[in-house]
């Protein structure tokens, strides 16, 4: 089986309309360019990371890929199927079949678990929806899933509030695994957890990938965890992918000035680490009126006039290393 291009994202665009504040009349006065023409692939058994600062469109991308929101334009193929067409045309059964392939783990395990359901209800709900596990086998399967994510059988009878943040995230992972998905989107799965718990969850995700052959889209603003968990990385800035490469290549040899600044900005947990060379000034501009040309040009230390005029596309500068910069 060909492992490459399991998930294909092609020219994905999402604009959110912005309305004026009128009471009686509602007029569209602009649009947020949340995701603006991005394309990338995720291979089977691969963790692809999207990294960027808040507001750069990483979460919107995740929601688009899972068809939780509709795109303005563009296509997403999962296992060769165009999911937007499929979700528009297919009957309910087909849609469910497609849904079973992909799952999501959310950022906040305090908000993504129903406080009135026991862990058993939470994890077995997917069985009720998809009917892929026979009724008499469901209980056993819940226990298996709990063991898989490092929880005990007696936890099944408890409610979410009885668990710590890390344990809750384990429950979320078990729920996502209940439908036997092939592709999981993990949106900042560790950022609400304590440092000592983060490593547990990161290692768990890595192990599960090996055991079950999952593909991951890992979304994070934390570059250190991205380096730890992913094989390939896309760096996003204001709705665009500015650089895409293998993880080690990206961190050892970043080409885009934004990627360089982002890496420089992360404090290394070692007092002997070298100090910072260049500091990124200013703040991220508004995505309602993004800068013309390269969106990074107003903050870029290397910007020339051409940068403000023409929008650079992603070009392959080395095998597998793409960058969108006129100067690189």
């Amino acid at each position: 089986m060909d492992d490459s291009n399991f998930v294909q994202v092609r020219n994905l665009v999402k604009y959110f309309p912005v309305y004026s504040r009128g009471v009686l009349t509602k007029k569209q006065i602009g649009q947020v360019h949340a995701v603006d023409n991005i394309s990338f692939d995720i291979n089977r058994r691969e963790t692809f990371a999207l990294v960027g600062e808040s507001g750069c469109g990483k979460t919107t991308t995740a929601r688009l890929i899972l068809n939780l929101i509709e795109p303005t334009s563009g296509e997403v193929f999962i296992d060769g199927e165009n999911i937007y067409e499929k979700f528009k045309s297919a009957d309910k059964e087909e849609k469910l079949k497609l849904r079973r392939k992909m799952q999501m783990i959310f950022q906040n395990p305090y908000g993504s678990l129903d406080p009135r359901m026991t862990v058993n209800d939470i994890i077995s709900e997917p069985f009720v929806i998809h009917q892929h596990v026979a009724k008499e086998k469901r209980q056993e399967r819940v226990y298996e899933l709990l063991n898989l994510v490092g929880l005990e059988e007696y936890h099944a009878e408890r409610y979410p509030h009885e668990f710590s943040g890390g344990q809750r995230q384990r429950i979320c992972i078990a729920r996502a695994l209940a439908v036997e998905p092939e592709f999981i989107v993990a949106d900042e799965p560790v950022s609400s957890l304590d440092v000592s718990i983060r490593a547990q969850i990161l290692n768990l995700l890595g192990d599960l990938q090996k055991i079950m052959g999952l593909s991951f889209l890992y979304i994070s603003h934390d570059l250190s965890s991205v380096r730890q968990i992913s094989q390939r990385v896309g760096v996003m800035y204001l709705g665009e992918i500015v650089e895409l490469a293998d993880t080690d290549e990206l961190f050892d040899n970043p080409l885009h000035p934004y990627t360089q600044a982002l890496i420089e900005a992360v404090p290394i947990p070692d007092p002997k680490a070298k100090g910072i060379k260049a500091r990124l000034l200013g703040e991220v501009p508004s995505p309602i009126t993004p800068p013309s040309g390269c969106r990074f040009n107003p903050r870029c230390p290397f910007a020339k006039t051409v940068c403000a005029e023409r929008r650079p596309g992603l070009t392959e500068v080395k095998s597998g290393h793409f960058v969108a910069c006129a100067q690189a």
Binding site: V195, S224, A265
Partner: protein
């Protein structure tokens, strides 16, 4: 060695809740020296914030300082009355909180909020006050101060809001500044800007800075000495370089090994288990249920801090028998 500015001895701050007494800070002792950057590191619930609030004597109800001594410039803060304490806050000791959106008042503009601080402690004319506010905003790097001082917190971005909060804390040039996770709610590039600003201001104003954080990267970058806290206790105090090179407490070593690094891949160690419940904390050393080196003694009597080499203190019975690895081994 620099002079001691703040000396905390045997501090106990408990919260008397309906579910029981939460021993948030339990027998904590350390000192802060003049002009130094001290790191206070630990996970949530380790008591680092409550320690800072105790020093300022603004522990929220049902919390109470039960025991201990907090000596600031030789005077015991716990013996001062509320009026005397008010005169200290802001002028001598100030604090910056984690989330600037909730620590600034949304219904007053920035000028009013800064003016309140200035006029509460000093008798100055309107004109002088205005000039001071503009100076302060320039100091923390807010451009177009004269226009922006009339704006409200919601008109500022997260990074700019934190700069306003820093300006407010520094308005009276305190000698000691607590920064409680000042960059946790900010993006990395903005975090770097704010950390640079804090470092620069600290040098310029010659104050002592206590950096409260769970981020081992910020500790390495910003501090010269570190206090490691776990579940309301201090488990290790050392110079930053020593701590990363030769951690002596098993918790410190695991904490270092559990944090991923940007400059290289490493095998992440796992700290098993969860943070203990502080209503009924584990007996003896509070870390012993999660510690791989724990012996019978660890569960019986809590260990005290002992100096194992100059300037390096650790609260662990087993430190002699174990060899722990630091960051570069």
């Amino acid at each position: 060695m620099a002079e001691t500015l703040l000396k905390i001895e045997g501090l106990k701050t408990y919260f008397f809740t309906e579910a029981g007494i939460v021993k948030a800070v339990d027998n904590v002792s350390f000192d802060v020296r003049k002009g130094e950057s001290l790191g206070l590191v630990g996970e949530s619930g380790s008591g680092k914030t409550v320690t800072a609030l105790s020093v300022l004597r603004i522990v929220p109800k049902p919390g109470k300082i039960v025991e201990g001594k907090i000596e600031f410039k030789g005077e015991d803060l716990l013996e001062k009355n509320e009026t005397e304490m008010q005169a200290m806050r802001g002028r001598e000791i100030a604090i910056i909180f984690q989330d600037p959106s909730s620590s600034l008042n949304p219904i007053f503009n920035v000028e009013t909020q800064l003016r309140d601080v200035l006029l509460a402690h000093e008798k100055i004319s309107k004109e002088e006050c205005r000039k001071k506010i503009i100076d302060l905003m320039n100091l923390v790097g807010i451009p177009e101060a004269e226009i922006r001082m009339r704006e409200f917190p919601h008109q500022f971005s997260g990074g700019m809001k934190q700069r306003v909060a820093i300006a407010r804390a520094l308005a009276l040039q305190p000698t000691l500044l607590f920064a409680d996770e000042p960059t946790t709610s900010l993006d990395v590039t903005i975090q770097a800007q704010v950390l640079d600003l804090l470092e620069e201001l600290k040098k310029k104003l010659g104050m002592s800075l206590v950096m409260i954080t769970h981020d081992m990267g910020i500790i390495a970058k910003m501090t010269t000495r570190v206090v490691v806290m776990y579940a309301g206790n201090v488990c290790e105090i050392a110079k930053t370089e020593d701590l990363y090179e030769h951690p002596r407490h098993p918790y410190t070593a695991l904490l270092l090994a559990a944090v991923p690094r940007l400059d290289r891949k490493k095998k992440l160690r796992i700290i098993p288990g969860n943070i203990p419940n502080l209503i009924e904390p584990p007996s003896g050393c509070r870390f012993h249920p999660r510690c791989e080196y724990a012996t019978g003694k660890c569960a019986e009597e809590p260990p005290v801090l002992e100096e194992v080499e100059p300037e390096h203190f650790v609260a662990c019975y087993e430190w002699k028998n174990i060899s722990l690895k630091g960051e570069n081994h």
